[in-house]
Symmetry: C2
Amino acid sequence: MSAEPLDPVLEERARRIVETSIELAERGGFEAVRLRDVAAHAGVALGTLYRRFRSKEDLLVAALEQETRALAQRVRQRPPKGAEASERVVGFFALATRGMLRRPNLSRAMLRATAAGEPVLAQKVEIFHDLMRRMVVSALRGEPVDPVRPAITDEERLVGDLLNRVWFALMMSWAGGVQSHGSIGEQMRSSVDLVLGPGNHARETHRASGTTGQ
Amino acid sequence: MSAEPLDPVLEERARRIVETSIELAERGGFEAVRLRDVAAHAGVALGTLYRRFRSKEDLLVAALEQETRALAQRVRQRPPKGAEASERVVGFFALATRGMLRRPNLSRAMLRATAAGEPVLAQKVEIFHDLMRRMVVSALRGEPVDPVRPAITDEERLVGDLLNRVWFALMMSWAGGVQSHGSIGEQMRSSVDLVLGPGNHARETHRASGTTGQ
DNA sequence: GAGCGGGTTGGAACGTGTTTCAATCCGGCG
DNA sequence: CGCCGGATTGAAACACGTTCCAACCCGCTC
């Protein structure tokens, strides 16, 4: 997916750096990712680290991308099941949420990094949002993820982006301790139902909602 | 709204500190809010600043709250007009967005501060979200804001939170330069239409969507 | 083999958020 | 008036992100 044909040695180094950051963040969150420590544990000098990554946030956003790719892998192997689109989408977000909550310190650190607001970084954050949207859309369709960037309708993009934004904002609240695991699930379910209609898919085909949404 | 009966002198000091932060952030963004400078400009010692505010982010979240109250004031005086709920809600978010984009540096700084992830701070961020939700709901109803914390139905809360989250995530993207002013407006309109139906209000009363959404 | 150039290293240096502390100020009270 | 306690001050100190740099290593070319 990355286009640059990097020296494998360099790439390996970069990967080890990210890996180390993840470990440190997992243990102690954002502050625990001390760049001197990262460099030391990864066996490189501080300068080398800064040659690869522009900032601490850059590093953590790289971690976020990696973790999101891992999530995509999981989703690919075990796609969310369900007859209704809404079921599958809710299932997908449940999976994503579980993945985040499994390592709260790391997740908080990565989320925080997305808010740095520097343009170059924001582009990388956008990669994360793209990946998420793609997964949502595939859950929406009930298709496997990623048959090489399938064409996406406007409707799908709209719904995908919207739900992603809701989920992302929920994660941000969770990061501060405001949202519990349970309430995240509930709110995502409600939101999905509201957007897709409780149990069906679209704007143009409203069916009388017979099944209980709850 | 704040319950604490603070010494007016202290309160005045705190306000001057926040005011100074806003000015500095307006000029140079997050990094320009150097706490030594803030203290100096506000005419207090660094220690005094830290007695009032736990961190730089705390300071900027206080600024966010203040700015949001100012927005509420504007909305109260000039409520978003429109026959349809969706129109009014779109109008409200347009107002909010305009307010943010008028002072991009300040807004970016405040948004960034919301992501610190520290629990105490997150509670204060929640105040901001509450204010926003209240404004959305009042636009939804077409009523003035804030007749002293009116009872809110589950449906209103759901819709309000959802749209707020979408808007907040959009602002976060905007902060990194990803979203332009125009695209923010478009995306909010689409989202509102998707959630409310293009031109009507609810889940239970689906009307055939006769009017063109676009 | 000598020289070149880019990446790497170790370490110093700088700026700024945050903490700490002794000295000081000040309003109220005996 | 003299004193107390809490807030304030000024300044130093600390931690960590970030920058800078001279020395060094290594693969390549002439």
